[in-house]
Amino acid sequence: MKERRLITKILYHILVLAFGFIMVYPVLWMISGSFKDNAEILRGTLSLIPKDLKMSNYPTGFRGFGGTSFAVFFKNSMVVTTIATFGTVISSSLVAYSLSRIKFRGRNLWFTCMLATMMLPGQVIMIPQYLIYYRLHLVPGYVPLILPYFCGQAFFIYQMMQFMQGIPRELDEAAKIDGCSKYGIYARIILPLLKPAIVTTVIIQFYWKWDDYMGPLLYLSRPQSYTASIAIKLFADSASVTDYGAMFAMSTLSLIPVFLIFLFFNKYLVEGIGTSGLKG
């Protein structure tokens, strides 16, 4: 009995690991590509071990363009992403609370509007949106990259709404009897219980914003203000030569912050499963 359990356990780990390897293989290939030279990458070998280790991709890539190094690009990305993620969490949880817990006139309308914002392709609203920021004299600058994130993001508003549905209404009622206002209920009951949804929001939004390049492309102009996402795209030019090695090297570096954020917040999704929920 005990042995069988051990075998199942080992099997489970082997399977999960093997499958995990297949999952991350393309990423590993990219990382190994950052140590290969251009010709080897383009030959398309799928081997993970570079023929001869080429370290120079990192310094070449990090040098950046025309005197602006990747240190600057990463710093810009960090600032924009951190603020935008923070904004998303705050604003989305507020909006989600109103749409899921408060019965007010128009909430169905706003909910529909929210979904509709996701259904038009960015390509058709991008230019009109640009013109608005332009009229407001906010271009070029970081404001258009950050401000919308303080207005709630549909993907996360809806996610938080669904999580709030799982929070029993009795808790609201109890708090109300204790003299808590609706504002208090949000701050004292809902927000703390929303932790898992907030954690996923941080993880996902951080990555999305970090990776977003259409926004920075439209709203930034000086190379010194570029984010890492556009800077990486600068290595690839379909009309001339692409330095894949340097691009992979910087893509690899660019993975580190998002991965660290994931590792840090992921532990909140793992530890103490089942200890939250109804305990309030």
Binding site: N38, S238, D243
Partner: protein, 464 residues
């Protein structure tokens, strides 16, 4: 409650009003930014009497905005050139931006929408689309701000509009050719390309190479197959200048019989079926000239814009192979070549610029100054200025020398007195459809004749 409703209604009305306001503004933005427009217009008038304005201008602190697309190498070289210019003209500072090709045009389109196109900007063969944003250089050429004394008439013509206005100065002239590996031809016993080879020769050689060596005879021409198959192939037929794909002023078709296209489409489909030309799947694997099948050794020839030739020549040299360059095949050995010298890209002054004259002066320096071009190293194409070209040719590598010789050869070919190398708005759509039609011919959905007819009517539809 009621009052709240009322006030929110008011807010809504106001917002609706602003919606309408903005809607109009997008189409015609002059009214919403009156102040800016006013200053722009004032400045725009200034260069008109530039003789009196010029000295004042040189005292003034000027910031020029400039943008281009390209690779890391180009960015570094261009910035070095800009810094040299700044050191020579202390009153001028540059704010520059650079992007990859696709991003550059996305960004440019937003700037067109908001009337703030960079003072100096780079454009390729699609410039007719941006005509409204280009400030012609003619008045500066006349006043001597822009020096064209060492640029040949033919080269100036590459960046001229159909009515003769000089829209910009070319960064480099360019033309097309077929790069090939003579060793592979010899191994297969195929006849080497020569100056008068035909599409039949091309097909025969390709088929033979595929049969003997098991590789593609010819690598994919990608989207340039449209230029080879539609533009060049059409203008190669009939008398010199009789046919061209689009007419000279880009207002309609330049030929009447769609069947001129049929043999080329048939040839493509036949070659794909035989395996001597890559099918859609294989073509999708080529992302870049550097992993073209010719470079990877899976094909014996490919289509190149000649400024790309040194790059692939060097890569193949490292593999121990020597590439050569041939003109594109013709329809008949004694017929027209269909080839002309074109501009790879040009620098233009923007209509939105507040410092048009300073921008024009910079462009002139950029194209004519030898020190500047020693920094740039003809990376954008072959310099149009004779003196610059001579200076650079002294240090040319073998590959560059082949390229220079080839361009000289092409520039001496007979060309029609009037021709057009520009693409009308929407040509990309015709091009994409054309490539799809060839695939449909291969799969037997339609015949080559139908494909030719469809391509013709797609192109015709651009002008309706």
């Amino acid at each position: 409650m009621k009052r709240r409703l009322l006030s929110s209604l008011m807010v809504l009305t106001m917002l609706t009003a602003s919606v309408v306001g903005c809607g109009n503004a997008a189409a015609d933005s002059t009214d919403s930014a009156p102040q800016q427009e006013a200053t722009k217009e004032e400045k725009a008038e200034a260069p008109a009497d530039s003789a009196t304005e010029a000295p004042a201008e040189s005292e003034e602190e000027i910031t020029l905005r400039m943008a281009w697309w390209g690779s890391q190498d180009r960015h570094d070289k261009t910035i070095a050139a800009i810094e040299l210019y700044e050191s020579l003209h202390p009153n001028i500072t540059f704010e520059y931006e650079f992007y990859s090709f696709d991003d550059y045009f996305t960004k440019l389109k937003t700037l067109v929408a908001s009337d703030e196109v960079w003072d100096v900007f780079q454009l390729g063969g699609n410039f007719p689309m941006y005509l409204d944003k280009i400030y012609p250089l003619d008045e500066y050429i006349e006043s001597g701000v822009v020096d064209v004394s060492n640029i040949s008439e033919a080269n100036l013509k590459t960046t001229r509009d159909k009515d003769g206005t000089q829209l910009g100065l070319t960064n480099g002239i360019n033309t097309y050719g077929i790069a090939y590996d003579p060793a592979m031809f010899e191994e297969a016993g195929a006849e080497l390309p020569n100056e008068n080879w035909t599409w039949d020769d091309y097909q025969k050689a390709a088929d033979l190479i595929t049969e003997k060596l098991g590789i593609f005879g010819s690598s994919t021409f990608l989207s340039s197959d449209f230029i080879a198959g539609c533009s060049a192939y059409v203008s190669q037929q009939g008398a010199l200048g009789e046919n061209s794909f689009f007419n000279i002023d880009l207002t309609g078709m330049g030929f009447t019989d769609y069947q001129l296209l049929t043999p080329f489409i048939q040839m493509r489909a036949d070659m794909i079926k035989k395996g001597s030309y890559p099918d859609a799947g294989a073509s999708a694997e080529v992302t870049n000239i550097e992993n073209d099948f010719l470079v990877t050794g899976e094909a014996a020839m490919t289509w190149v814009a000649v400024n790309q030739f040194p790059t692939i020549y060097n890569v193949c040299e490292e593999q121990g192979r020597t590439l050569a360059l041939a003109p594109i095949p013709k329809v008949t050995a004694d017929g027209n070549s269909g080839m002309v010298i074109q501009s790879s890209q040009m620098l233009c002054v923007s209509q939105d610029s507040a410092h048009k004259e300073a921008a024009a002066a910079f462009i002139s320096w950029f194209e004519n100054d030898i020190d500047c071009n020693m920094i740039l190293q003809a990376e954008r194409g072959i310099p149009s200025n004779e003196l610059v070209r001579e200076a650079l040719a002294k240090e040319a590598t073998t590959a560059q020398q082949i390229m220079y010789d080839y361009v000289d050869y092409v520039s001496k070919l007979p060309t029609p007195s009037e021709y057009n190398v520009l693409s009308p708005d929407g040509q990309d759509q015709v091009q994409d459809n054309y490539l799809n039609y060839i695939q449909q011919v291969v799969s037997g959905e339609i015949t080559a004749d139908e494909a030719a007819q469809k391509t013709y009517s797609d192109a015709e539809a651009l002008f309706k």
